[in-house]
Amino acid sequence: MSADIVLWLVQDGITTGAIYALLALALLLVFAVTRIIFVPQGEFVSYAALSLGMLQTGQTPGTVWVLIAGGAIVAVLEGASALARREPARLARILAVYVAGPLAIAALARWGAAHALGLWAQMAIVAALVVPLGPLLYRIAYRPLADASVLVLFIVSMAAHYVLSGLGLVIFGGEGLRTNPISEARFDVGVLKIGAQSVWVAGASLVCMIALWLFFEHTLVGKALRATAINRVGARLAGIPAGLTGSIAFVLAAAIGAASGVLISPIATIYYDSGLMISLKGFVGAILGGMASYPLAALGALGVGLIESFSSFWASALKETIVFTLIIPVLLWRSLASRHPAVEDEEE
């Protein structure tokens, strides 16, 4: 293996690793705030990528139907609770937010598909389509179970993954799509020819990470989320509503997912079922990083990208086996490092 091959593999590993890192951050964020192992995070990536792909081929993304249906379900749930509490005045707002909102976004997407818009405008439409799915999903699937144990929430995640990936096949079809890159320029760096899109991916991931850091360190909402992550009961007692922090975490997660999707779609073909694998690799990264610290999770995910890149060179057929077996020694090490086995009670 010559030096330039090593460089190429490193460059490739960093590009995919950057996407896994974004996923790992979102997964860790959701887990810390809500204790949800958020498997469907990968579906945001595939929904965003495929929605962008459909827009670029002049079709209205099927995502609009998921958005409208999700909004309608939440409108029914919220409406019922408003009536049960004898607050019919809230109905108008509920209709505006959960019915009119998605319909407006759908109209925008339809218009966007019919006109050849610039890439950035298309990305904005995709964001408008995908980001609301986060809080809608939280409201429908998770909030009624906010007090459930980590493991029950994990099973809910799997069910939500089934629903979203199943709908993905319906609205996007079985074939994959690849979108137009932000820039097709290529730079010569030594022996490497680095595509501008790869630079975009790495750069945007870095920007996202810094933005997240600023958000958590310097905004009130960010601090409230951190407080919730550290002590849920305490945060609730301090007047931070758990439902709200959950919704915010899901908005952020969906936004990160949408960003990952539009970033990766020009350099990788995305399919309706790509989400699970991307999610799982993000998880492997987060676990490699100890499932506790954001920088370590990002590093762990970068590690997954690099290992994947090198193992696809050495033993491509066994690549997935290598990547996924990797967490076993890490867990073994953690297991040995903890003196007593964890004797803990699940919350009843």
Binding site: G173, A268, T269, D273, S309
Partner: protein, 380 residues
């Protein structure tokens, strides 16, 4: 309680079905319209919207079930067809392991099976009941091998799916290597949904082969095509008949240009010489399919479904003279008739079956095509 109601309903259905059996032929079709094989399974299924409503002149009913691209589900569906629906023949599936699993049911239940995917050599009792519609992979890849030989290719890099299809294409290219004077220098694998194949492609370019063969299908096959071109690989890139569809070009964009693949003639029906035996049938099918599913939606897979039906149609004409549909005698007669069909013209080629050859296609069933200006064109 519900189970009882359901069983009762079932009993009634069976009775009705048995009574109706004289009137119509029943064919059970299982396809992987979800799961990893779905991008192929869906066009296979689409074709059944277009097929005639009769077989050999008798009305026909197709029962189409999804097997999630899993062999045990395909076998389960097949069992359901033969035991509950009392079908006269089974068709499917689009995955090789699924089809192989079905051959066992076909043999056990003495039901003719029309396989919609190539199958590896079978044990005699299974082969007896199994008829294969698509061109054997080796027949297809021999077109590639001969083309490479003519170009003086001495070393070939291989990259394929890490699944049965990848195995099958690799084995075919490998088996053809000695007779066509080339050597396989890599056997790289990738996953259908892998975001990157840079590692594999680096290994291939490091070996610097004269040509590369891709053992993928549809849009995922574009991933190595793009990566090879981005990495600056200049040699010819060959694909297989699974790749010949529009999503491959849509995904590969400029990088797809120049890709060469073997296929049944229907993909380039318009370009075929008037004398080409399947031209009329292919053109007719392409016209119908694109009318229903959009311009440019033509693909080889839907053609296999169509040809499978054409084979059954020809065989049913003969079998109906011997027995009534829904009976073991009819199934046996259908099998015998399938084994002896002669000059059945499908969209892919001309079928001439014999006890020794349950596929019956010859070299007229393949042409080489190339991506030129975003279209699959006949390579002359």
């Amino acid at each position: 309680m519900r189970t009882h109601a359901r069983l009762a309903a079932l009993a009634v259905t069976c009775a009705v079905a048995a009574a109706a059996a004289h009137a119509e032929i029943t064919i059970g079709v299982t396809l992987g319209t979800t799961g990893p094989g779905s991008s192929l399974g869906i066009p296979y299924k689409n074709a059944f919207q277009l097929v005639p409503k009769t077989l050999g002149g008798e009305p026909v009913r197709y029962i189409i079930l999804d097997d999630e691209s899993k062999p045990d589900n395909a076998a389960k569906n097949a069992r359901k067809f033969v035991t509950e629906d009392k079908v006269d023949a089974i068709m499917g599936s689009n995955g090789v392991p699924s089809a192989v699993a079905m051959t066992q049911v076909a043999a056990e239940s003495a039901t003719p099976m029309v396989s919609l995917t190539p199958v590896p050599p079978l044990a005699p009792e299974r082969n007896r009941w199994t008829f294969v519609v698509p061109q054997p992979t080796q027949l297809m890849m021999s077109a590639v091998a001969q083309h490479m030989k003519a170009r003086g290719v001495k070393t070939v890099g291989f990259i394929g799916f890490s699944d049965t299809w990848g195995d099958l294409v690799y084995n075919a290219v490998n088996a053809l290597s000695a007779s066509n004077g080339y050597k396989l220098v890599t056997n790289e694998r990738f996953g259908r949904a892998d975001p990157s194949v840079t590692g594999q492609v680096l290994k291939i370019t490091a070996a610097a082969p004269d040509a590369v063969v891709v053992g993928g299908s549809g849009s995922p096959a574009a991933t190595p095509q793009i990566a090879l071109r981005e990495r600056g690989y200049k040699g010819p890139i060959y694909h297989n008949h699974g790749t010949v569809n529009r999503p491959f070009i849509q995904t590969g964009k400029k990088s797809a240009e120049g890709a060469i693949a073997p296929t049944g003639a229907l993909i380039v029906a318009e370009e075929l010489p008037e004398s080409f035996p399947t031209r009329a049938v292919s053109l007719d099918f392409v016209k119908r399919y694109e009318a229903a599913f959009g311009a440019g939606s033509r693909n080889a897979f839907a053609g296999y479904s169509w040809d499978g039906v054409a084979l059954l149609d020809a065989a049913a004409k003969v079998a109906l003279k011997k027995a009534k549909p829904g009976t073991p005698a009819f199934r046996a007669a259908l099998r015998d008739a399938l084994e002896n069909v002669k000059d059945v013209i499908g969209t892919h080629g001309v079928y001439n079956m014999s006890p020794a050859n349950h596929n019956g296609l010859d070299e007229r069933a393949r042409v080489l095509v190339q991506v030129v200006n975003g279209e699959w064109r006949l390579l002359k």
